[in-house]
Symmetry: D2
Subunit: 492 residues, 4 copies
């Protein structure tokens, strides 16, 4: 099996590295590719950046109206190959085919929004700020920008950045997770064959920490977009800052969902179950702590346990599968360990998804839906991101208490409430300290024209991915003050 090539300067190029890591289908441990890793991937990165910088030098002068034309084509390209991409996603990251299709759709929507870059990128003009003086702003590209993306949304997350970066005149380098390199590999094959982009404008470089550090330290890279766990997000943010770059770094989460007594049992249960167990809980917007609030009769608990039990776990490409495996055996071990830790901390295991074996996929990293209740509120596990199909149940009497509890958490990615009451919803969205808030929504992922707004330890930086924020992040403002004094031209 050959080692995956990098896409640099418009061509597929072998890595300088001869070390590689396996890319493995998490449903069956089948090795589906080998991806370069190791020290020399830093050289790959440097080479990609060098060519990217050259591409930028021309691309920055291309009118935005022309720069968005490839995005119109890219939208169609992704639509036309939606299923092929989704198969790759399922096979390398484990989620179900339906989830993979949904993921690609979100990528497409970001491309659509970025097609509007020449409206969104307009800046401000003020005539006559003082007599005879005009002042205006221009948005110009930064140079080479890059993203470092996680394993859980290989087909979507790069598109929170890529289309905006190039629409605004930058060159862009993607370093995908070495666990899931195939999706972008295929997307770049499509781009290579179908789009007429300047060489070096888009690059794909594989690797792990070495490639990341090379990107962080390269002075030609002006901006880095990162999505991953909080510790790495912090590392990227502070290292990027050390090298003077602008950085947006999205970290982990522990997402609470509040159920008010007036919520409809059936629908709430269905939506929350989807949120907790969708993508096997490996979403930064997965619901994780479920909080029936008020004089709870246990009805929601019962319904949630019942629904979780019924969830079909298996290979994501099989019809009927509702939940796939987690990404690696190590991940499975970690999740099962955390479940045990929950029990050890005094939690009550209502549903145990450990030691799961799926017939036909005996080697798969499967963890079945799990539910814990009664965890100590200040315990370790309550503050730990599990990133697996584990629901924790907590109760409070009053909404205000619930919000106070949520706001004590260190993360702030998502918070949702289920209610039909306008006041409860408004109180919640006003007070809760999270950047993506759902009212009767299970996965509060902003559509592409809104910023994906983590708060607290879920995000480091100020401008987020998607929409106008992305346009701002990928451009620097130039303010021009202009005067044409009379004395300069007396003759007219």
């Amino acid at each position: 099996m050959e080692i995956l090539k990098n896409y640099i300067n418009g061509s597929w190029v072998e890595s300088k590295s001869t070390s590689s890591a396996d890319v493995v289908n998490p449903a069956n441990q089948e090795i589906i590719a080998k991806v370069p890793v190791g020290k020399s991937t830093g050289q790959d990165m440097a080479l990609a950046i060098e060519h990217a910088h050259k591409a930028y030098e021309d691309w920055k002068n291309v009118p935005t109206m022309k720069r968005v034309q490839p995005l119109f084509s890219l939208k169609k390209l992704l639509e036309d190959h939606k299923e092929e991409i989704a198969v790759l996603i399922t096979n390398e990251c484990g989620k179900t085919f339906a989830e993979s299709l949904g993921e690609v759709q979100r990528a497409i929507e970001n491309v659509e929004v970025a097609c509007g870059a020449y409206v969104m990128g307009q800046s401000e003009f003020s005539e006559n700020i003082a007599t005879g003086i005009d002042e205006f702003m221009i948005r110009q590209p930064l140079g080479v920008c890059g993203c470092i993306t996680p394993f859980n949304f290989p087909g979507m997350i790069p598109f929170w950045f890529l289309p905006y970066a190039i629409a605004t005149g930058n060159a862009f380098v993607i370093k995908p997770s070495e666990k899931v390199p195939m999706t972008m590999q295929y997307v770049f094959e499509l781009i290579d064959k179908n789009l007429d982009l300047p060489k070096g404008l888009l690059s794909l470089v594989h690797g792990g920490k070495d490639a990341v550090d090379a990107m962080l330290q390269d002075s030609k890279v002006k901006a880095i977009s990162f999505v991953g766990s909080t510790p790495i997000a912090k590392y990227i943010y502070s290292e990027g800052a050390k090298y003077g770059k602008r950085v947006q770094a999205q970290g982990g989460a522990k997402n609470p969902v509040v159920i008010m007594p007036d919520a409809d049992v059936e629908m709430t249960t269905r939506i929350i179950t989807d949120s907790v167990y969708g993508c096997a809980g490996q979403r930064c917007l997965a619901a994780s702590v479920i909080i029936p609030t008020g004089d709870d009769k246990g009805v929601f608990k019962e319904a949630l346990v019942e629904a979780a039990k019924l969830r079909t776990t298996g290979y994501g490409m099989d019809a009927g599968t509702e939940m796939g495996p987690v990404i690696t055996p190590e991940s499975k071990t970690r999740i099962e360990g955390l479940i045990q830790k929950g029990i050890d901390e005094g939690g009550n295991l209502l549903l145990d998804g450990r030691n799961t074996t799926i017939s036909g996929y005996e080697k798969g990293n499967f963890v079945r839906p799990t539910i814990l209740e009664g965890l100590p509120l200040n315990g370790d596990l309550m503050g730990t991101e599990i990133f697996g199909p584990v629901m924790s149940l907590v109760n409070f009497k009053k909404l205000e208490e619930t919000i106070d509890f949520i706001n004590k958490g260190k993360y702030g990615n998502m918070a949702c409430i289920f209610t039909r009451d306008g006041l409860a919803a408004r109180t919640f969205r006003n007070r809760v300290m999270a950047g993506n808030v759902g009212i009767n929504i299970g996965v509060a992922a902003p559509v592409a024209q809104f910023p994906f707004s983590g708060w607290k330890d879920s995000f480091f930086g100020d401008l987020h991915g998607q929409g106008r924020h992305a346009i701002e992040f990928f451009t620097q403002t130039k303010v021009v003050i202009e005067r044409w004094p009379r004395n300069w031209s007396r003759k007219f």
Copy 2:
């Protein structure tokens, strides 16, 4: 002489520190105050932040329309006390009274713009992003925000941030330069006596690095605005990032001004002389490298030398003074050393402002206008910010060469051109890598509704001070996705 107090929780409080530094009038070395410094100022900072955080907890819930009311009063207050403030500025930082008045005016303009926070702070609403689902964004305050400001604009720079920070619902802490604490001291006295603000909302904490580090490390501080030299800006940016904060850090500059052959000699000379020698060159937008471009006959050189010679240097409060002293004796020594370095590197000293004594102000840190030409383009001094009244003259034949030379520099704060030619101006503003660009302007300081846009090593971060950028910097976005499913409420 008593040590200056801090303004914490709505009262004047003695510093925990018993060490102090002298505040000195740079025109005569008169000690005008003593300012606390040393380790314990970190405790002062911590106390101020603690109270600020409490103030924020209430203030964040006050409607913006009410939060801007004190700003309307503040505008009037600053207007009514413009002269008193300007006297303080001149006496502690040395610039002329006229320059000080101009500085206060810019502060006022920022307050005016921030009065519009309830329009500027509006966010986006999209009905029906999917059937029955609405999505919208809210801008909410961050918490405690702080600024660390330099000696050269004690009356203006805090206002690039303060009015926007509080208008958007934050509490704000100012750590002014320990060299020029009197201006903000007086402004805070005015605020204390005249404005009806919640206790703790605005704080003034004196000190040096200890106070700064306390601000950087305090987890209640969510955002830091810094203006100063590039090395410190880098420190603040990376330290702030290490502690997970958002940071905007403005650094040094080496600002080029291009003169095209068609520029009017008299007016160009007058404006450039003002830019180079205004505030004794201690402005981050001071012109520094003057570049007559084209088939130069030396006419601009002659005129610039002549104009520089005639500049009246002296105590800023004396009538007729056109240039005051530099901030400290150390600064004078440093500047004179850099002039010598220029000569040593091969520069030709056309005008020598060293060893200046002003009668009646013999102890003042005066440096007279200085002009160097023929410095090596790649020499050390050409890349060094002098921050004193020193002009370097450089020539190129073609505008493109000039721009290339400018773009090789490490700073990108300002770049100006003098010409009557539309094409030259457009080429320049399109290509030059600087965030504040002047066309026939000597000091391209953006008015308050535009961001103060440094590039390269002149700025670290993405959102700048002033205007909408400030509104964005001081708020975090919360995206709400809202659905009210039919099943929840069947009865109507």
Copy 3:
């Protein structure tokens, strides 16, 4: 008693007309002033416009930052004289002193928002729409603009337009209702004495239809803002269009308020009663048709009748007065006639406010709170704006039916709903055809940064009063496409 003068070209000038109408206190028929009317007021208008045009010719060149300075002063001026203005409002238009104070506050808020005109008036800049070509937009003033305002908000409605018009560089002429000229007369005295405005920039011209027609037909007037009844709004809109002007014309209303079964009886009753009877029902946002929806037990009806009965009617300056008189005896007669018509059409009179006499104010045009129910849904009265303190009660079983009923009406000024249910509220605001929608709000008047958005026969035009809409209405866009071809300037 002298006839009121006009304010033209910065001076108080006698009308050309010798005819006059009485300005009468509606609480006691006391004549408080005489206002010029008749043919020759058209000449007054022409004179004012002529001088306004001259003022505009200079004012348009004044930087916006300077043009808003008088607005900052005006805000303070109105605040300092709030009570005096409110007394005048009460005495000439009848509403209570508290209502008058509230009205002035809304005027002040519009002045505040217009202070932000130099941010709101920024337009768009696009660099490099094609290689080397930039395109941008400028907003420039129109010229002379005017407003024609109704009797019911003499202190507020002119300020929906005036501050925006002058901030953007226009001259402005006000033609107040001849029934309530005193409020603006006083405001103009304040302006004349305290603000430093160019002569002719603001004019006040009294009169009736003759003055209006002169404004409509004068080619120097470029834009007209009107608020009044629908038939006159239509006349202004089509006449203005005939003369090529831009027009925004706000007309009448018949505002429905829906009560869902889950609404709190006490609070709903209190708020609706305020909305129906506040300003004696003479508000374009007065609630008029109250629609308890669902399986109504009559609880709201009872509570509403009870609350209406208790409402204290009398002279607006007397302590405890909750409702003042209607504007004229003719108005009283008209309202009482419409009540009778309601009875004749089959309505059931639950509360009869006719034939009211208030002790001490026997000549006042008082009508006490009136409630009709059972009016035929397609009857005449149901579609007629009463503009008096008359509530009509209607019932439907389902919200959808209620909305359909509302949407059949010809007006679309306001529609409100009282509920705690998020779905009911969302369905209502999504579907109801009205431009100002309240959720648990009695008088859904947009704050000054939002447009006052009537729909259907309640508004003719596209850009409304207040906020950004006003900025757009009072400016015309100029798009500049700029290129500086290389061939023009070979020498650099």
Copy 4:
């Protein structure tokens, strides 16, 4: 030859009218189609509107993200059929094939911009305008909107409106000029076959004044966009207003172009010649009055006459043709009459394009390039739109005089200046009273993200076509004020 059908309710339908007019190729008088006209076309219009209204009732509820999907397809459709459309344009309206291709490109760009409707259509949200009260705005569609378009840009002008109208949720009816119905006929065939749009959403109704009046008078039509001559624009504007609609009506022009002495002779001449004679002068942005300004040596006059002489006139599909015929024989007669009138008024005919016969196209309505100079500045012809290939030459000594002369004109569509001088350009764009201004541009047509901004008698209304203005024009604002009082929901 069959009479063209209308496209109503998603099908091709025969007109109710049996009268028809010929559609004629202006290059050879060949009849290429018959278009229904006469009284009964009003019934066609009514039918189309009725079905359009039904389509709107559903379409308004479709999320914008879905409503723009057909626009993405439409972009590709127009690109794929660009040449076929261009052939039709050339054959029915006479312009050259290259001009026709350029026209279609502009149509495509408007479709692209409208694809961004879900960003551009976002409205404003303000949390907590008062404690616990939120206020926000929604943009909702109007209903049925229509456009009435002229003969000179059959492929572009409908697209200034159509894509924005449907993206924002309206149904749209086009009434093209009866002289050039084939282009839209073909575009609708493409749409019918390729796009999956709801029936009735887009309609094409042929006819003349009867169809127009039916559209004006139909109460279901809420907005009309018109482009044509000023007298008809006035009619549409005032008639539309009479029926309470919003109207944007673009009229005629008499576009001045100023040449400063420093302009490059060759390039200026080439660009101006293209502007004057392109589309045979039948453009609302055709340069018409050319004004060399300053101490003119006649060099521009000579060069312009020379360039005009060399212009190849002929059938637009023939290779090498630089100018096609004018639209009708009547138009040719009118233009030639106006040239004679110019002579009669004292003008000097420098180049006479009358009595032109093109070999092989003897019946074509050809007028060759014509140049008049010395027309009286206040004469009739100087104020008359010729709409043919006729240049008038005027001279002034100073730019200020030139601007004063231009500003006296009744039109304000376009004004251009050729210069390399920044001050001249700035003075011109600041002072000239025209909505589309070119600096070294011959045809200052705003790109699609900017409004096509006529002033004075060139435009009636306030919101223009294209970009954000179109989004605003085709939506009405709904302001929602929302409160959820505590009392409503005590139990949580």
